[in-house]
C-alpha cells in the first residue's frame, strides 16, 4: 500500500493558521492593554472648567491677551483652569502634550484644593530647542483612580504654527 503524498500547500496553510493564532494573541494583548488604560465605566460626568489658553509670560508667571487656539512657535502659552469647579475629594492633574506625545508641561496629580495656586499651566520648551516645535498641542485635565489617569474631564487643542 502506498501512502498518499502530502499536499505541501496544505502544510503552508496550516503554518499560516499557526501564525494567525499567535497574531490573534498579539491583537488580544493590544485590546487588554487598551482596556487597562481606558477602563470602561469611568465616565463620572465631571467637567473641569478651562477658562482659556493665553499667551504666557514666564518671568512674571502671568498670562497675557485673549484666549486663542493658534500660537506662533516663538510664543509660550498656558491653559488656565478653574480648579474650584471640581469636587475636593478627587485626584486630578493637567498636562500639555506636543504633537509627538511628549509631556511638555504639567501640574499634579493632587486634589483640586492643592492645585488652587496653580491655575495657569504653561507649556515648556524642550531642551535643546530654543522655541516650541510646531504642531498640534493637546491640553488635558485628567481624573485619577488607583494612581492612574482614567478619564479626561477637560480638553483643549492648540495649533503651534511653523
Amino acid at each position: 500500500m502506498v501512502a498518499a503524498p502530502i499536499d505541501q500547500v496544505r502544510t503552508l496553510y496550516r503554518t499560516l493558521l499557526v501564525y494567525t493564532a499567535v497574531s490573534m494573541l498579539v491583537l488580544i494583548a493590544g485590546l487588554v492593554e487598551f482596556v487597562y488604560f481606558e477602563p470602561p465605566g469611568q465616565h463620572s460626568g465631571l467637567k473641569a472648567s478651562i477658562a482659556g489658553v493665553y499667551q504666557y509670560d514666564p518671568e512674571r508667571n502671568t498670562t497675557i491677551g485673549p484666549d486663542r487656539s493658534t500660537y506662533p512657535r516663538t510664543a509660550l502659552f498656558a491653559a488656565v483652569v478653574d480648579w474650584s469647579s471640581l469636587p475636593k475629594d478627587i485626584v486630578v492633574d493637567a498636562r500639555w502634550y506636543d504633537s509627538f506625545g511628549n509631556v511638555v508641561g504639567s501640574v499634579g496629580p493632587a486634589t483640586p484644593d492643592k492645585l488652587a495656586g496653580e491655575t495657569a499651566v504653561p507649556v515648556h520648551v524642550q531642551a535643546p530647542f530654543i522655541h516650541l516645535l510646531p504642531g498640534r498641542y493637546i491640553f488635558v485635565v485628567e481624573r485619577y483612580e488607583g494612581g492612574e489617569p482614567v478619564e479626561v474631564i477637560g480638553r483643549r487643542v492648540v495649533l503651534v504654527e511653523q
Binding site: 503552508l12 503554518t15 511653523q162
Partner: protein
Amino acid sequence: MGTAIPRAQRPVRYTVAAVISVALVLVLVASSILNYIYLDTVAGRASLYGLLVISFIALGTFTGVRVFGRDPAERRRRFIRAGVLLGLAALVWLLLVDVIVFTDSAGPSVAVVCALVCLPTTVFGLLVLRTLDRNETEPWRLVLFATAWGAVVATSLVIWAESLWQAIAIRTLVPGPGLDVSTAFSAGILEELAKGSAVVLLFLVMRNEFDDVVDGIIYGAAIGLGFNFMESVSYMTNLYAIFAPEGVGGDAAGFQWYARQVLGLFFGHATYTAFVGAGVGIARQLPDVRRKVIAIAAGFIVAIAAHFSWDAWISAFPIDKSGFAIVEIHLRSLIITGPFTAALLALLFAGVHIEGQALAAQFRSEAALGTGAIMPEDVSILTNPWLRFRQRTRALGRGGLRAYLLSARLQSAQIDLAMDRWHRERHEVDTPMDAEEDLRRRAIGLRRELAAAIATSRG
C-alpha cells in the same frame, strides 16, 4: 494567454473584482468630498474634481465602446485599453494630489530631495524581491503596478479614515498608552486593508500571473515598498519642516530616511503586506471556498498584528541619548518586527521550494510528451535561473538582441506552460483547456522564431 473567455463562462471572480473596484473608487470619492467639506484644501478639491472627471470619462468610454463596438473580441480589447489608460490617469491624478499634500509642509524642493533619496533604496528592495522570486519572476508591469498602488492609491485611501479615527481618539481618550494603542489599531487595520485590497484585486483579475504563495508575497511586499516610499517622503518632509527652524531639519529627515528606507525597508510595510499576499497566494491553491476565505482572512490578521505590534509597542523601547542609541534602534526593529519577518521568510522559502519542485516535475512531463514545447535538454536550464540567464546571453552572442528577447520570451512561455500544467493537475484553473494548448503553440512558435533569428544573424 490571450484567449477571451465567453461571457457565460466568465468566472465569478471578475464580478467580485468589479464590486471591490467600485467600492474603492467610492471610498476615494467620499474621502475627497470629506476633505473638500472639512479641510477645503487644494489637494481635497483637486482629488474630488479629478476623480469625478475620470469617472465620467470612464462611463462615457464604457458606453461608447458598448454602442459602437460590434465584434466582441475587438470590444474586449478596447475595454482593456480604456481601462488601463483611465487607471493610469487616476493614478497620475492621485499622485499629483499626494505631491501637493506631502510637499505642503516643507515645500517642493525638500520633497523632491526626499523622494530622490528614497528612490534608490526602494528600487533596491524591488530588485531583491525579483531575485527571491527565482523560479517564475512576475512581470515588471504588475510588480510596478503593485508598488504604485502602495505609494499612491493606498495612501489616498487611508488618509481621511486615519485622520477621522485620530480626531475622534484625541477628543475622547486619555493621552498615553491607551491612545497609542488606538492609533496602532487604526494604522494596522486601515493601512493593511488599503494595501491588501490591491493583492486581492490582482488575485481576482490577473489569475494567470498569480500562481501561489511566492507570487502573493512578492506582490504584497512590492505594495509595501511603494507605501513605505510615500510614507518616508511624507515623514521626512514633515519632520524637516518641524525641525528646520531649530537647525536640525536635515538630521531629522536623515534619521527618518535611515529608519524607514534602510532599517525598515523590509522590517516594515514590506513584511506586513507580504503576509496579506501570502494568505491570498495560499488561498489560490486551496480546493474549497471556505478554506480560501480563511486563508485570505488569516493573511490580513497576521499583517494587521505585525503592523499593530510595531506601532503600539515601539514606545516600550525608548532610545537612550547615549552612544548605545544606534544599537538600540536596530535591536528594537529586530525584537518587534524581526519575528514576523522571519516567519514570512519561512513561508517564502518553503513556497519557492514547493514551486521549484512542481515546475521541475512539469518540465519533465512536458518534455516526455515530445510536443516540442519543452525539450529534454531544456529541463535542467529552466529549473535554474543562472542557467536561464546564460542561455539568454548565449542567444545574444549568437543572434543579437532579437535572439536574446526571443529566448527570454521562450523561457517565459515554457515556464507559463509548466505552471498551467501544475494548476490544471491540481484542478486550480477556471480557464478553458485550449489555454494550455495555446501556450504550447506559443512556445513552439517562439522556438522556431529564435532558430530563424539565429540563422539569419549567421547568414
